[in-house]
Symmetry: C2
Subunit: 129 residues, 2 copies
């Protein structure tokens, strides 16, 4: 049984070229960063000029405080947004997109293009065999 496992492992290792694993990891990183239901709408909202927590919240129908808070934290950790506390009389918090976030522009553009084509295609194609 040990031999069996070992042989299987050897086969696995031999079957995958070296950099493939790295590419899969990179892909999954990117998926993780923009994955989930709300991150892209949040990016979109912030890039659209919304800076305050409640403004962003109100601009995205259906989102809860908890999800917005959680995603903003993750995105801050991933350096996609910058959180700034302003020393106004009731402290206000500003969220802004980083240049790094905007470096996602190419991907977002491609995905928008693709998503639109896909929608058209799926609507036009009822079933296929």
């Amino acid at each position: 049984m040990e031999d069996k496992k070992r042989l299987k492992l050897i086969k696995e290792v031999l079957a995958s070229p070296r950099n493939q694993k790295e590419e899969v990891m990179a892909l999954q990183d990117a998926i993780y960063v923009i994955g989930g239901k709300w991150k892209l709408p949040i990016i979109n909202s912030i890039c659209n000029g919304n800076k305050r927590f409640r403004d962003i919240e109100r601009s995205i129908p259906g989102i809860t405080t908890r999800m917005l808070s959680k995603d903003l934290k993750e995105m801050e950790a991933n350096q996609l947004v910058k959180r700034t506390v302003l020393p106004t009389s009731p402290v206000t918090v500003e969220y802004t997109a980083t240049d790094y976030c905007r470096s996602f522009g190419d991907i977002i553009l491609e995905m928008i293009k693709w998503g639109k084509q896909h929608r058209e295609r799926v609507i036009r194609t009822p079933a296929k065999s």
Copy 2:
């Protein structure tokens, strides 16, 4: 001048209030189609030349038979992959990427690029600046 055009387009896409809703929908469509942990690695594997079920499975470390089977079915339904049964003596099954799927190539490449940069960046930067 290419960059200028691109930047202008990005700005339009990210900042235009009118098409915002449609674009977020398109984005979420794209995320839905390629979402989850394994779909992009699967596309990548098939585009890398793997055709057989077990070959694809072995090329993606960590994936289970169940997830591969499930995702391949969804991707077939979304016309991203074509499944062909060959009348060989033990029947073999071939999975191939559709042209439609290959139209995703640019996005995958961009995401791999971005993911690699991101990993480097997050590893190198303990706190933000």
